[in-house]
């Protein structure tokens, strides 16, 4: 399937979804006074890029999102590799990590505000905290799935632990790490917006949503959320494209088999 056809199919899917929602509202299945129909939201969304407040907010949110995601990757992959390749360390730290993981970052925001006296860093650290886990856990478990014989093959040539990790375990785990990154990207975006919603800020998508909310402008709020969705979609598309290039063998093999 060409890229064009794929885009088309995707667009049809999204359009279908929106049309269904529109129909539900227009036919009174959902109360139009409480929920603006997609057509209205789409119109508002189309107008938003002309609003400097919105674009400044979007830029800010995206920079914190991507910054946080980058930091999460930079922390979680090495940590995951460490834990995945040293089962003893993994077992010893597991309770601590599993204790930290379900702590809601949202609940930590008041604390984060106290501890990190810089708005940007505060939000980024909340994002990092929440989006670390999928990468970390997928890395640890992906490493466990590596075929032992593949590792032995390189060890037999006298390569040390580090080389085996770098040249066998990591490449073979890479698809799962990327899946973790894709999950984390979504979570990071959710947190980028949520942190702004809770902590406020000079600009940001979440700040925009606060304003829309206190102005009773559900249409504007959903329009902003729509842009968040588009941002997530774009990021994911980029990751999938990267995946396709880097793991060409993987797609080839699956393709041949199916």
């Amino acid at each position: 399937m060409t890229i064009g056809a794929r885009t088309l199919r995707g667009a049809v899917g999204v359009a279908g979804f929106l049309a269904a929602a529109e129909a539900a509202i227009r036919t009174g299945l959902l109360d139009a006074r409480l929920l603006p129909p997609p057509s209205v939201v789409l119109r508002e969304a189309a107008l938003l890029p002309a609003d400097p407040v919105f674009t400044a907010g979007l830029t800010g949110t995206v920079s914190r999102w991507l910054g946080g995601l980058a930091l999460a990757i930079a922390l979680a992959v090495p940590l995951g590799v460490l834990l995945g390749s040293l089962p003893g360390v993994e077992r010893a730290t597991r309770p601590l990590l599993e204790f930290l993981r379900p702590i809601p970052s949202v609940a930590l925001i008041p604390l984060a505000i106290l501890l990190v006296p810089d708005d940007f860093l505060m939000k980024v650290s909340v994002i990092v905290y929440a989006s670390l886990w999928p990468i970390l856990i997928n890395t640890v478990y992906g490493l466990r799935e590596v075929d032992p014989l593949a590792k032995d093959s390189l060890r037999a040539f006298g390569f040390g632990r580090a080389s085996v990790l770098l040249r066998v375990s990591l490449p073979s785990t890479a698809p799962f790490i990327v899946t973790g990154v894709r999950l984390s990207a979504g979570i990071a975006l959710v947190l980028a917006v949520s942190a702004e919603l809770l902590a406020g800020g000079a600009e940001g998508l979440g700040v925009f949503v606060i304003r829309a909310g206190s102005g009773n402008r559900t249409d504007l709020m959903l329009a902003a959320v729509l842009w968040a969705g588009l941002g997530g979609m774009a990021c994911n598309a980029a990751l999938v494209a990267a995946e396709r290039r880097v793991f060409r063998w993987h797609h080839l093999r699956s393709g041949v088999a199916s």
Partner: protein, 255 residues
Amino acid sequence: MLKVDNLAHAYGSHHVLDGVDLTVGDGELVSVVGPSGCGKSTLLRSIAGLVRPAAGQVLINGVPVAQTPDDLAVVFQDYSRSLFPWMSAAANVALPLRRKGLSRRERRDAARAALEQVGLGGAAGKYPFEMSGGMQQRVAIARALAFRPALLLMDEPFASVDAQTREELEDLLLAVRATHNMSILLITHDIDESVYVGDRVVVLTRAPARVVQDLAVDLPFPRDQIATRELEAFVRLRAEVGKLVRGRPVDKESQ
């Protein structure tokens, strides 16, 4: 070169190796034959430092090996899983050469040359899953040969190739051994092959494996697929190994 000293191993309560003694001299090629499941692969893995034996030791040039010895290459029985699926054949062959401190170019050239030797010059760019079973196995052989190890361990390396290719590879092995003075331990199920390529043939019992016999193969060099196999000594040795392998009735239950 290699000395295996009273090696024993068990997986849980299942005893596999029961005091195996074995030597491979410098530049020697020793064939190992024995029934399926007797512990040949376990022996090989112990020598390569991938399995820590329960008792006994492995000495290389007189030094006991704890980890994988230096300057070793292995062709695994399960060749398909020992190749890296994300790399082309050439990249698979070139990878271990990083240990040798070769430049990128040298690695590439060495990989190409080794693939040529095993008849895969045209398949260098293919991924493992794009290759037939025999081709994959030859990539694994090429990878080991390109490495030019001092000691080469091979676990049924020719099991998946056709008769003619097999003979070519046997001769290739002999030639490489002669040129580079490699010491080689070759596990095989083919009795003819064990005699044809070997300086010695070691016959193992069924599990738990012990050495039944260590036969010297006093056939002249260079060996020749037709002439050597017609020699009376060859026919006699082959029959002897055959008899030793079949020696005891196989207790099927215990395998």
